[in-house]
Symmetry: C2
Subunit: 460 residues, 2 copies
């Protein structure tokens, strides 16, 4: 049967209202625009003033440049929402390792990964940096599924040869490296130029890896230039554990640095409890940070100081961190980034607060930079690829504004079946519409999703 | 045309899985139950062991005793999600007073209130304590709409004769009292026994009211026994303002107390920054607290110490606080109560963390106590009224678990049109299903809603 990658594209002109982030502080809202996309999915022109064209087509919606999830464990998707009262280390042992290890079963892995990718796509995630499990076959399957679904993805096999349960652990640094090479080879075999799917070297986190394994992964990165992802400083107990396990290092960040892992192609998730000198080291190495606000609240990990990271010049994007994070939706990550920044502001002062523009930037351009694709995705510009979602909002029906001679009929209270959660009364500005979507929107508002010019999701 | 209140009820037996909160810490999950409801909407029997009956009917869902919103400004619904970077006092002047004052226009009020009630009902809110505006006609219309829709409601005209903009202010304490009496009389005329709609005396908050008005409202409460609602200690600037405005009072709580407003029939929203002695005073008077976590995060108001309130014996329920809160969904309030308690725990220690059971209790039994209806609603017990919602979750289709001979067809990635956001793989326990619903559920999972035995919402 034909798969997505075999379909050819036509040159297309998209018309309507286009919104992307110009800078960290500024949304660019183009009300009557037209964007031309060529047969390779690349933007070839952007016209800004096509009066009366756009508004007819997407009357209460817009197209939005979207949306890299810079940290998501596809293998943990079935546990979304299940974490009880736990914090990180207990959560790993109670909920996470048992589920991940069960994905040795390729059929279970297929069910979980298919559903996870359906959900991320339907929520508008055009690109994702996925953690799979330690299993080669299941990890390769995740890469296959992303390619078939047409989602841009970084797919990583989890390396973990230390402090992990016997039933779910790499046998040695050598087997971990060999297995990681197998997944790199597989991805090269299905997408030789890494156009859609890229392998990503994935030491789970320092406590799960011996020093020899970390060194070997640093070497592998150096020899292949394949990007990397891991966790850092999510939880205070974890930070203490790293101090005990790597007594020769002065900090958690330095552990990664001394093993050749702190480079511009490293995505560090969380970075909640890092010191000022760790921040400086990360910035110096130009490593990237994936902020995962929903997860950090759910697991009581702490509130990451995003303003403090941004002010130092570090590149920050957003991640859902399923299933530490309960939701596969990047819009929920955007919303939680706003809310968590307000909790940080309650302690550190108003400057910590992130605006709508800023959280959207982190979820689009910021994430694109984190995964090293800032020249390809994250905005509507000539030469970029057509990664976008079409957003539709609900206009409250006029009928409800009319007098029905006293009491209203009960019918007035019925919402139509597939109605999205965002109500527009008609008087809202574009900025207000965007704010309403950020705070109340969900996958019902994501009408279509394109990756590299290809329609990969459409709400029926 | 016939309105809801004129429809007669039949005796009905509901079968399936029933979940309600037994205590603050304990969910009662009754898998194969049957509940009989009489023609007055009252529960007349509860059977717990009707094997093979329930599971056939609601295979992956349950019925849940629901769900009083103890604090919601219906008049602010169009601003849900619109608050920018503001905090309370600036937010009132920038966003709130202009919108509320515009509901002098009865047609605009009708549009706003109809939609707001449609949304709260479709999200499973069976009872709500509403703030309307200062306008008598619009407030009365809100009461009419709730009655027609079949939603149990407390409807309050906002009293505000001080420190409010000239364009939106009561002329005097006397007119404020007269206008409040008008809305009480109107509600008595449409629902003489307050079976569904109850008036509620509503001083906006201490800074908006002169001392003579507060005294007069205390008198009105004493003479009518009509319940009351207001705000307390939401924001530090507000607390300072109250100190300046009422220099003779030793605390914000004492202001209400000395005016005869701190009684068992008072609902206080927020209570974030209260002192230990205020807490003791509130408990002594048995006044109730509505915790509004989404709002408190959004407006950077602070994190209410719910455990500390509960430990003192104060009754706490949950409110959405639209539009300080961005969402009309009580499930979002439940979810945010969990997340905000984790931010409080980051500072105050693990004991502050609220469990799934506890946040559900606050959203059901807790809220019922806050509005004084603990003998009528909040649980499935003989003698209580049938206020419930039917919850359905999505079972991930088996098809996706099958091998398709290598690559998956693109069709595998399609979600069906009206699919809810909660995925059940089939192996989850009931507790895990409930957790998944709490963290990812929305109005798509609310299939039916009943109030007092009457079906008031059904997902088409």
């Amino acid at each position: 049967m034909p798969t997505t990658r075999e379909k050819s594209l036509h040159r297309t002109v998209y018309v309507g209202t286009f919104i992307h982030c110009e800078t960290l502080q500024k949304l660019d809202i183009c009300e009557d625009g037209a964007i031309g996309v060529d047969e390779h999915g690349k933007i070839v022109f952007v016209e800004r003033n096509m009066e009366n064209v756009g508004s007819a087509i997407v009357a209460h919606g817009w197209e939005d440049a979207r949306q890299p999830d810079t940290h998501i464990h596809a293998s943990q998707y079935p546990n979304a929402g299940i974490f009880g009262q736990s914090t990180l280390l207990e959560w790993l042992n109670t909920y996470t390792f048992p589920l991940e290890s069960s994905l040795a079963d390729i059929n279970k892995a297929r069910a979980v990964y298919s559903r996870c990718i359906s959900r991320t796509l339907s929520n508008g995630t055009t690109t994702a940096a996925y953690y799979a499990t330690k299993h080669v076959d299941s990890t390769n399957l995740l890469a296959d599924i992303c390619l078939d679904a047409g989602q841009r993805a970084f797919v990583g096999r989890c390396c973990m040869d230390n402090l992990s349960p016997d039933y779910y652990k790499d046998d040695s640094a050598e087997t971990a490296i060999a297995d990681t090479r197998s997944t790199i080879d597989h991805i090269k075999s299905i997408d030789s130029a890494y156009e859609l799917i890229t392998p990503i070297i994935t030491p789970r986190f320092a406590p799960s890896c011996t020093s020899p394994l970390l060194h070997a992964l640093g070497q592998l990165h150096k020899s292949t230039n394949v990007p990397m992802q891991t966790h850092i400083s999510e939880n205070l107990g974890e930070v203490q554990l790293v101090r005990r396990l790597f007594p020769e290092s002065t900090s958690y960040a330095q552990v990664y640095d001394t093993h050749g892992l702190l480079t511009p192609k490293m995505i560090l998730a969380h970075a909640i409890h890092i010191s000022a000198s760790e921040r400086d080291l990360i910035r110096e190495r130009d490593a990237k940070i994936s902020h995962c606000p929903a997860s950090n609240s759910a697991l009581t990990s702490g509130g990451a100081k995003v303003r403090w990271l941004l002010d130092s010049g570090i590149t920050v994007g957003l991640g859902t961190d399923v299933s530490g994070g309960y939701s596969p939706s990047m819009l929920e990550a955007v919303r939680q980034a706003s809310l968590v920044s307000r909790h940080v502001a309650m302690l550190d002062g108003d400057a910590a607060k992130l605006s709508i523009e800023e959280v959207l930037y982190l979820g689009t351009r910021g994430g694109a930079k984190v995964v090293g694709l800032e020249n390809k995705i994250g905005g509507f510009e000539v030469g970029m690829e057509w990664d976008a979602q079409l957003i539709g909002l609900t206009l409250v029906p006029e009928a409800e504004t009319e007098q029905h001679g006293g009491a209203l009929s009960h019918a007035s209270f019925k919402l139509s079946s597939n109605e999205g959660p965002v109500d527009i009364f008609g008087w809202e500005s574009w900025d207000e519409r965007v704010a309403k979507w950020v705070y109340n929107g969900d996958d019902r508002n994501t009408l279509s999703v394109w990756v590299k010019g290809r329609l990969v999701h459409q709400r029926s």
